[in-house]
Structure formats: C-alpha cells, structure tokens
Amino acid sequence: MATAEAPLAVRRSPRRRRLLRLREAPILGLLFLCAAISIFTTVGIVAVLVEEAVGFFREVSILEFLTESRWTPLFVEKHFGVLPLLSATFLISALALAVAVPVGLGAAIYLSEYASPRLRAVLKPALEVLAGIPTVVYGYFAITFIAPEILQRLLGQQTLFSALSAALAMSVLLLPMVSSLSEDAMRAVPGSLREAGYALGSNRFEVAVRVVLPAALSGIVAAVVLAMARAVGETMIVTIAAGNVPNLSWNPLEAMQALPAYIVQVSLGDTPAGSLEYKTIFAVGLALFVCTLGLNVAAQWLLSRFREAYE
C-alpha cells in the first residue's frame, strides 16, 4: 500500500505538488464522465421513447390511443386503444399489492417489534432471498402451481392464464420489498417513543399500531409506492402467467395482457424497424416510463418531505 510512498510526498516541493494536482485533472474528468453517464442514460431513454412515440402519434391520434377500447395492432384490422393494456396493468398491480401490502406490513411489524434479534437476523435475509429470485421463476411458479393447483381447482378458473395468477406470483416478489423497507422505517423510530407508550399502560400490539406505525408512516408509504412502481413495470411474470390477450375486463380470472407483456410479444416477433408495430412498443414503453417515474418521484418526495428526525 501507500505507506512506502508517503515520505516521498512530504519531500515534494509545493510546485511539484501543484503539478501533480494538475496531472490529476484528467482523472477527475474521467470520474465525472462516469457519473454523467447516468444523465446520458436518462436523456437517451426519454429521447428514444419520445422520438419513436411521436412517429407513432403521427399515424394514430392520441385521442384514439387513450379512449379506444380495442388493442389489435398486430391484426389486419388495426385498433390502437391502450385501455385494455392499462386496465390489465392496473388490475394485476392492485391485486398483487392487495396481498403483498398487508402481509408485508404484518411481517415488518413482527420483525421490528416482536422478533428476537437472533430470529430477525435469520428471517430478514431469508425474506430478501425472494426479491433476488429471477422473475421467470415466478412465472413458472404461476403456471405450474398457482394456476392449476389453486385457481383452477378452488376458484374454477377456465384457462391456465389469468390476471389473478400473475398477481399472486407477483405479490410474493413484492412481499420482501414492502416488509424490508417498512421494517427499516419502523426500526428508525426511537425506543423512547415505545417506552412512553408502555409507561402509559399500552401493550405490545397497541404500541406497534398506535405509536410505531404512525411514526414510521412516511417510510411505509414510500415502500408501498416503490412496490407499486415495481409491479407496474414487472414484465416476465405478466408475460408468462397472464396470457397475451388484450382484454378490457375487470374479471381477474380471465386472461389479459399488461403493458410490458405487449412489448415482449412484439419483440419476440420479427418486426422491421420503422414499421407502425415497431413504433407501438415505444409508445407503450413511454406510457410505462411515465407511470413508474411518477411513482418513484412520489416515493422520494414522501421520503424526503416527511422524514422524521428523532435526534
């Protein structure tokens, strides 16, 4: 390491040191470029999506895109209504969150307020393993277990593919996101607040729900919003498990196509660049990008605006 070099540095004259610093300017520039790549990435994403989407909207009116109820860009008779894809994305995300949020929050309360440190040290990483499993695996789980063994048997689902099957698989993926981030927020609540609650005669559950939960609320809401963004953008689970039929329906036992699944469907075919089909995936991608960006910005705003400081 550098210990052998340090005495040399001491003996250097100030002029030579300035020279050294000047020589370091290119290194600094290079490091700045590395950091700036993130800006180029964002600019690139926006530019690519907007450019191709503008080409799309030159041929299809925005009004038709947002109000038409049929999505058949790959058929002979083409209709470009994004509503079936949007509603499927919304339905699947909402169902997934309806399972993942209560269960994840329950797990977070248990980990933060009930579990012993040793149990938590095992349980939390074990839950986080779920977040690291590739999403194709969840897709496989949905069509070989959730759909045939649970939904078709118990709820009388007709086809192998359904919005509910995708939503249930997705809820397992979202669970550790909700529980891990919420638990972090709850653990940041200082012990003195809990002790005050106990001193007033509350039991453990009352302290958890009436003291810790409200104090950690901004972090918990941010966790839920981040999970929502993840659900909207999650691609492989909906592609594999929900079926690829654009379907404007609120029946979760029917097959549907979500926004990202359509992009995959077109990408799997051989679509020539510049064709209208090619442009549709960028218009759909733009819709997806706007939704998730909005959610992410909201989550960060919540975290910074309502960060409780207990110092």
Partner: protein, 296 residues
C-alpha cells in the same frame, strides 16, 4: 377515588378485550412473517419436484433441441457467461468511478444533486424500458445488431445504479480520519483515494458488485427486447455473436405447452438458482471477511 373503585366491571371487560386483541394480532403477525418463508419453500419444492429428475450432466452440455428430452442449456449458459461477464467489465469500473466522483470529489451544487436524484430515479425504471433504449441505441443507431455486446451494454445500464449505490456505501464506511492522515502526509486527493480509501472499501464494494451481477444473470425482459434469440444451437464465441441467455431459454421452454419442456424449464431454473446461490455465498463470505479484517 381509590384504584379499586376504578376497576369496575366495564374496566375489566375492556382490559380482557385488549389482551385478546393483542394475542390474536401477535398470532396474525407471526403468520404474516411465516407466509413469505412458506412461499419461498413452496416455490423451491415445486421447482425441485418438476426438475430434479431432468437434471444431468447431459442437460448442461447439450444444445437446445426440438425434442424436449434431448434439450440442454449449453448455449444458454455460455451466453449468460458472455453477457454477464461483459456487463461486469463495463458496469463495474464505470459504476465505481461514478461512486468515487460523487462521494470523494463532487462539489455540493445543483449538478451533483441532479446526478444523485437521477441515479435514484434510474434505479426505479423498469428494465424493459432499458431494453427499448438498447434496441434503439445499441442495436439500431450504433448498428451493433442483436449481439452479445448490445445485450451487455444494455444490462450495464440496468445494473449501473446498483453498482453506484453500493460502491458509495462502501466508500462512506471508510472513516474520514484515514483520508485526513493521508492528505496530511502530503498525498494528493487522487493518491489518497487510490492508495488508502479504495483498498479499505474493497470488501463492501465487491459485495455490491456481486449483487449487481446476480441481478444481471436473472434479467430476461431487456435482453428479449434487444433481440436475444430463442433458439441457439451453437456456442457464442465473441462479443459480436448472436446469443441467448439462461432465463430466456427457460422462458422459451415455459411458453411451450408440452409438460416435457416444462420439466426442462424447471431443471434450467435449478441451475440458475444454484448459480445465484453460489454468487450470494461469495458475497456473504466477502462481507464477513472484510468486516473481520477491518481495523478501525
């Protein structure tokens, strides 16, 4: 009033209700925590049930085939190695460079804040959107075609925020006194970073790199968009070859109706999870080792 006067029948009823509620809630919370673990176990059992019989050395060394029982993952595994290896070569130096800039050199101004907010937002962009960027920029505009290189460039952008965030955490854990000591001895800022801060932060940084690469191994959607092939009966031999990766091969088998292909998919999943498990074990070992070595 004495305390006994307060303890009316009504008071007792309320206390009992609170106790019952708390006990029931404790049970439910325990169940919620167990539900995730149960789902994990169930998932692993289902995959093992379907795939263990299909797993063999032949499965790993065979090319994909139209005959389900002969299909293997050789080209997909090699493709994953190429793509993820190249992703690491691209994303790790750039990510660590960006982290060093932001943590050690960046002035506190609007540009730095913009870059930081931007990295946070990029971490939340769905990976399929990166796939669209890769398709338009690397495959079409830069004319790289549907190659390993185009896939690796796309995946590097996906994992870059993860590398940057974890590398910054590693740098932040190095105490300030080490930097001050180095500067006081006359070292320049870059000498301080290169000879003192980086070696001290290496352990946690490597952990982050491994986590980023395990994310890259599991990514499917952006590579489909970039144009990885579904059927690759040859070995990819360089960055300009066309390719497939393990998750896409699995996806291909899942999308077929025949149960024999589903078994192949399950066997592929076992291999994929084993690779991920191995990488995570290395990450945990690195973290343990670097924490033991730390002397401040």
């Amino acid at each position: 009033m004495t305390t006994t006067a307060l303890r009316t029948a009504e008071w007792r009823r309320r206390l009992l209700r609170r106790h019952v509620l708390a006990a029931a809630a404790a049970m439910l919370l325990r169940l919620a925590a167990a539900a995730g673990i149960a789902a994990l176990v169930l998932l692993l059992v289902v995959v093992a049930r379907d795939g263990l019989d299909r797993l063999s050395w032949d499965f790993i060394t065979s090319y994909p085939s139209r005959i389900a029982t002969r299909a293997g993952i050789r080209s997909a595994l090699l493709g994953s190695l190429w793509v993820v290896g190249l992703t690491g070569l691209l994303a790790v130096p750039v990510g660590i460079g960006a982290a060093i800039y932001l943590e050690e050199f960046a002035p506190r101004n609007w540009l730095t804040r913009l870059i930081e907010t931007n990295i946070n937002n990029l971490a939340g962009v769905p990976s399929i959107v990166y796939g669209l960027l890769g398709l338009a920029l690397f495959v079409r505009a830069m004319d790289l075609g549907r190659t390993v290189l185009a896939g690796a460039l796309t995946l590097s952008l996906v994992v870059l925020p993860i590398v940057i965030v974890s590398a910054r955490e590693g740098l932040r854990a190095v105490p300030y006194s080490i930097r001050e000591a180095s500067l006081a001895l006359g070292a320049t800022p870059w000498q301080t970073v290169w000879h003192q801060v980086l070696p001290a932060a290496l352990g946690p940084m490597m952990t982050g790199v491994i986590l980023a690469l395990s994310r890259a191994i599991g990514e499917t959607a952006p590579l489909i968009t970039v144009g990885a092939l579904l059927f690759v009966p040859f070995d990819p031999r360089g960055p300009m070859d066309s390719f497939t990766v393990l998750p896409i091969q699995i996806f291909n088998w899942i999308s077929r109706p025949q149960p024999a292909f589903h078994q192949a998919a399950a066997a592929g999943i076992i291999v994929l999870l084993a690779v991920l498990l191995g990488m995570n074990a290395v990450a945990i070992a690195l973290r343990y080792w670097s924490e033991r070595r730390r002397q401040w």
